[in-house]
Amino acid sequence: MNIVLRLAWRNIWRQPRRTWLTTGAMVFSNSLLVFMISLQFGMYDLMINNTLRSFSGHLQVQAPGYKDDLKMRQSVPGIQVLAAMFREDDGSTKVAARGAAFALVSSEERSYGIQVFGVEPVFEPGVSNIPGLIKQGRFLGDLHAPEIVIGKVLARNLRAGLGDELTLLGSGRDGSFAAVIVSIVGIFDSGIPDMDRSIAEMPLGLFQETFAMGDAGHQLAIATPDLASVPAAVMAAEQLLPAGSGLVVHDWNALHPGLKQAIQADLTSAWFMYGMLVILVAFSVMNTQLMSVLERTREFGIAMSLGLTPGRLGRLVMLETGLMGCMGLLLGAFLGGLVTTWFTYNGFAYPGMDELAVNFNLPSRIFPSVTFGTLFAGPAVVFAGTLAAALYPALRLHWLQPVEAMRAA
């Protein structure tokens, strides 16, 4: 084995420029792949986490049909007690009970239709970012106080500020007329225009009184420490629900179907592009190896007439490819890792990105991070592709007739 290895190594350096050009193709595409894959997966993670942390949480307990119909009467009974039960069961997850309704909110000068959420002031910050994004005033305090927290854009549209009173008009769970007057105690700025324009939060107790909810709510939002713990959390939640309650558990895929699909769509187009790169590099390698085999026809002919089997010759060719492939893999991963790490510190942005980023809950500057997976996934596939490409030249050797070969030019 040792001698074959040494032969292979010596062979690839017989034509240094050719070897460097072939390796160059691999290094180029590998660096590109490392960078793009790191960026891509970093972005996906960010997108998902940002979206989930902004409001919805990783999973929710709701009444059946509520997710699609959003009707007031599809409520979760005894929601605060249920929330407390969930909290006792698993300390690592954060649980928040909420009620939701559509209402007409009026300031002195303007009125708008918005979504109002009744929240538990103590527990809401564990699930949603909004309490932490209050830029003026404070978040809610008492469970029954006539207070409200609104977004920056809504405040501007309503021409209202801290301390101003707002009137909320809507219909309660039983269809009755619901009205309440609250004062603005906090204004939040989430950076997401839709949230800042159309969401307001009030204390859950007041919400339940105003909208004739009794002790019910509409969503039990649960945040897990990371995405990987979601399936287990879903199962645990289903166990914990009182039997016969009919309540359902939705994970974030069900709550945000668009999210996973947007990622899938992006991944598919990315696979296509990566696939193209791998194929083109494979062609380069096939060409190189073919040429190198053809020009050694006489040499191989002599070797075969001396007793070397075509199989071993084939293995020699594959080994040569393997060595170049390794060089390409290591150098490419190294270079790619270097470039990506530079962006880890300096952030990556291209012109026009901030507009697009807002739509997907992404910051306007992304800091990709290199992991073992993102570093070697792309180059590994390229390596496999180059080995596959070298099969054709290697297999051709089976048909080599030693005598003819020795006479070749």
Binding site: S29, Q115, Q261, A262, V281, S284, M286, N287, L294
Partner: protein, 409 residues
Amino acid sequence: MGELRIVTLLAWRNLWRNHRRTLIMLIAVTVGVWAMIFMTALMRGMIIDMVRDGVRVLPGHVQIHHPEFRDDPSVNNLIPASGAELNRRFADKGFEAWATRVKVPAVITSERESRGVTLLGIDPAAEAPISFVADDIVQGRFLEDDSDTGVIIGLKLADKLDTELGKRVVLMSQDQNNEIADRGFRVVGIFDSDPDGHEEAFVFAGRATIQKMLRIGDHVTEVVFLGDDYRDVEPLYEKVSGLAGADVEVRRWTELDTYLSTMLTVMDGFVFVWVIVIFLTLSFGLVNTLVMAVFERVREIGLMLALGMRPANILGQVVVESLLLLVIGLALGNFIAWMTIEPLKDGIDISAVAQGMEMMGASSILYPVLEMDDVVTANIVVLVLGFLASLSPAWRASRYQPVEAITKV
């Protein structure tokens, strides 16, 4: 000129001397070119769809508002000129299509539920060529004239409100004194648009009816104009600005929907980058092939030089050889790309990721669009870069010393 003929003849013959190698390179170039064009056609199609949809929703290529309307889209910021005045300014001035509308935030209440929506008072005749609704009616009818007392709502909204064709709803907004302005309407039509978000956001009624409800006389909140090319709105913008007067704000669609216009620009950049990346990957193989081809023919080149051929013609041979290869690859790649795109003209159904596409604002059927600009870009990049890539081996070939070259082993 005779020299050029000889050079080309020699280059062509050289190309096919090692037909296996040339063929492999040719396949690589063809696949690369196909990938360039196919991918960009898909992306281009998606963007064009998105923009067309977006422009239909805005609607229009240019819009006019009260200067403070965009910041505060309320009924207090009406366009100062009356409807009659606007008619005088813009009618019969040769616009492809134009319409005035009243756009205000409102709350729609059915028997059971209420929602915040954007209410649009329109003139159906003028509106039809500009916005999306007339085409998307699936139940009932569109509005008959601007005094129609019916209302058109989206399918999803009808669902959420638990209402249907023929039922009554109440629309509630505010007038200029911040008094509630409301009126009962009958649902006379239901529309189904793609993307779905519009179905929940917009409600259409007759302009005159809404003007009466809001007590704003003959005034409107916006005037919209359609030009003939969404890519080039400058001429339309100039024309509208000239006629609009000083008391209003005139805006192009690119300013009103920055997300879409940014997408358009980013896509142009993306096409360019993608073409370059593919080419760079190919270039390693291309240069390798040329270097090998030259290397094999050192003695022959030396002989030609010794017999008096000018070095420039040697250089020419190599360059032309490379260009011939690329031209054939381009021709084949373009052809195959066209062949694969034509049958897909009816659209690729990607409804599996429909909701993800909604997030991006795209529809769930992908129509590839072969834009001449993109094809030309790809071809030019390949030719120019290919020419540059071939210069190095060509230059080295022309620098051979005849005596050394002839005697090379």
